[in-house]
């Protein structure tokens, strides 16, 4: 009962970074208990071709489940198949990344196995066979340590908490038939928008440039996008005030009721720092704030602050970042 089954998330026929993070975190659990990491991937026929990076990041085996009805996310059939796999073998742990998809799958799997789960954890350790994990709650203001005493353990790990690490293992590919008929799922995903392919995702970006009301109008978000482009790998976020006003789509909202992010660098542009917003980004490693009000709460948590009009500072900063990266 020492092997770990890791959920290798895919979307639109491609592996997500969440898959590599899950395999990396699963490796830590497996190494602590002397077991193997098996990554399980679902997709339309042909998804098996995406297995190699999983082996390269620590999967001893890759379980490939192909079916036409996995072309779209299919949470019922995915969780049923994962639960069947967990019951069939020598697994002590199921682990996934707490992405939008992972957060949906993990409790379904836990329920099918009749166990609770440790959800959205930012760190964990394996002690005497039991998993103890830290999970930020209360909008990031309180760290909760939970211990799982049920077997098997089900755990979802916050995106970005365990970055993909190269660790070449066999990655032996094995195919598995879905449990039940995936075409008969009651919940049907009819369409997945590709979104904007050029757009970097908030959950995955190591740099986030975020804008608030200090930008004065929607069109000025161009300055935020320009700075994000200058960093090359940056995503664009927004405050709730801005998404409520329709300047940016709701999915861009960072905060208590939006996305919780912790990038390496967070640049808050024209954001005063309402509690609701700070709840979503206070765990960022380095925080930069640009705001014209030097008493704004954002400066209390910012590592580096510039007091000034964001509309004047941003173009200069964008040029300077371009030059620094070119040089």
């Amino acid at each position: 009962m020492t092997n770990v089954l890791a959920f290798a998330e895919a979307r639109g026929g491609d592996l997500r970074r969440a898959a590599l993070e899950a395999v990396t975190a699963a490796r830590i659990v497996a190494d602590a208990s002397g077991g193997q990491v098996h990554a399980i991937i679902f997709g339309a026929p042909g998804i098996g071709a995406k297995a190699p990076p999983l082996g390269a990041h620590g999967a001893d085996a890759v379980v490939v489940v192909e079916h036409a009805a996995f072309a779209q996310n299919n949470p019922e059939a995915v969780s049923t198949t994962i639960a069947a796999r967990m019951k069939s073998g020598s697994y002590g742990t199921f682990l996934c990344t707490a992405s939008a998809t992972g957060k949906d799958i993990a409790p379904r799997v836990a329920a099918k196995l009749g166990v609770p789960l440790a959800a959205d954890v930012t760190s964990f350790e394996v002690k005497g066979g039991a998993i103890s994990a830290v999970h930020p709650g209360y909008t990031g203001k309180v760290m909760q340590t939970v211990t799982l005493t049920a077997t098997p353990a089900v755990i979802s790990v916050r995106p970005g908490a365990y970055l993909p690490k190269s660790d070449a293992k066999a990655g032996a590919v094995e195919t598995m038939a879905p449990a039940g008929d995936p075409g008969a799922s009651r919940v049907k995903v009819t369409e997945t928008t590709a979104g904007n392919a050029a757009k970097h995702d908030l959950g995955e970006a190591r740099v986030i440039i975020s804008g608030g009301r200090g930008l004065k109008e929607a069109a000025n978000f161009k300055l935020v996008e320009d700075l994000a482009a200058a960093f090359g790998n940056a995503a664009v976020g927004a405050t709730r005030a801005v998404t409520d006003d329709g300047w940016r789509p709701p999915a861009d909202q960072i905060g208590q009721t939006g996305r919780l992010v912790s990038p390496d660098l967070y640049v808050a542009c024209g954001i005063s720092g309402a509690i609701q917003h700070l709840a979503g980004m206070r765990t960022s490693k380095t925080i930069v704030a640009i705001n014209k009000d030097k008493e704004a709460p954002i400066f209390k948590i910012a590592d580096y602050g510039i007091v000034g009009d964001v509309l004047q500072v941003l173009p200069v900063l964008t040029d300077a970042v371009k030059k620094a990266r070119a040089g």
Binding site: P107, A111, D120, Y138, V142, T147, V187, D303, I306, V321
Partner: protein, 251 residues
């Protein structure tokens, strides 16, 4: 349509929390409590469905001590028809245990739609709704930001990272509610008066043994921010130097 909304009483987050002497809870002294954010959206969404159809019933359910009666009354003052308290001393952290108790109450209730917030804003595990759905054997769609009906079919939207899914399933079903679906209304005076007379039933929660235990609670390390490096565009060169040499996030 008969709708159940499961909701949790949580503290207002706009405070600096203290850890209780036990080291396993927040110190509740002086805290204000209300319906958890996403659960409030679920109540509002349920009321809007009932109002649109001009028929049906909205039942609110909460697990906890007698303090949750105030939270249930608030939901009824918004417009919910009746309430059920599953009495237990506090809300366990084990989402499987909580979901089991809620499922036991929901089962046989004849609900067309069971709604949860996508997570509670305090313990924030985001698992109770999906586990309850599994225990009830109902289809479940989590974290939806839009919900419409086409006969007996629910059509929904889920936000993903940089994309979204359109999802459908037949009723009865369980859904968990994300930001964006509906902003909760404020109770009217008339609503508050009416809520006092609406039925609130109390019964013991049927909780299985907990297998996820909270072993410690702690405050995260304080950020040592507050370093203003300059004013206006003139401060940019120093910022870029610090990002490169000190924070090492620019290369």
């Amino acid at each position: 349509m008969k709708i159940a909304v499961c909701l949790k009483r949580v503290p207002d987050m706009d405070v600096r929390f203290k850890i209780a002497a036990s080291g396993k809870a927040v110190d509740e002294a002086g805290l204000k409590f209300d319906i958890s954010d996403f659960d409030g959206y679920a109540v509002e969404a349920a009321l809007q469905i009932k109002e649109k159809l001009n028929a049906g019933e909205v039942v609110v359910i909460s697990l906890g001590g007698d303090v949750v009666q105030e939270t249930l009354r608030k939901a009824m003052s918004m417009g919910a028809d009746r309430a059920v308290q599953l009495r237990h001393d506090g809300a366990p952290v084990d989402s499987f245990a909580v979901a089991s108790a809620l499922a036991a109450e929901l089962k046989g209730g004849g609900y067309d739609l069971v709604m949860f917030g996508r997570m509670s804003i305090d313990t924030a595990h985001g698992a109770v709704g999906a586990i309850a759905a599994e225990l009830l054997g109902l289809p479940c769609v989590t974290a939806i930001s839009k919900l419409e009906f086409d006969g007996g079919t629910a059509r929904m939207r889920r936000e993903l990272e940089g994309a979204f899914e359109l999802v459908e399933c037949a009723l009865p079903a369980v859904v968990t509610i994300d930001e964006g679906i509906a902003r909760p209304r404020y109770p009217s005076l008339k609503g508050i008066m009416a809520a006092k007379k609406k039925p609130l039933e109390t019964k013991p929660a049927q909780l299985p043994a907990e297998r996820l235990t909270l072993t410690a609670m702690a405050l995260p390390p304080e950020r040592t921010g507050g370093r203003i490096i300059g004013e206006g565009p003139d401060a940019v060169p120093e910022l870029v130097r610090l990002l490169k040499e000190e924070a090492k996030v620019l290369s």
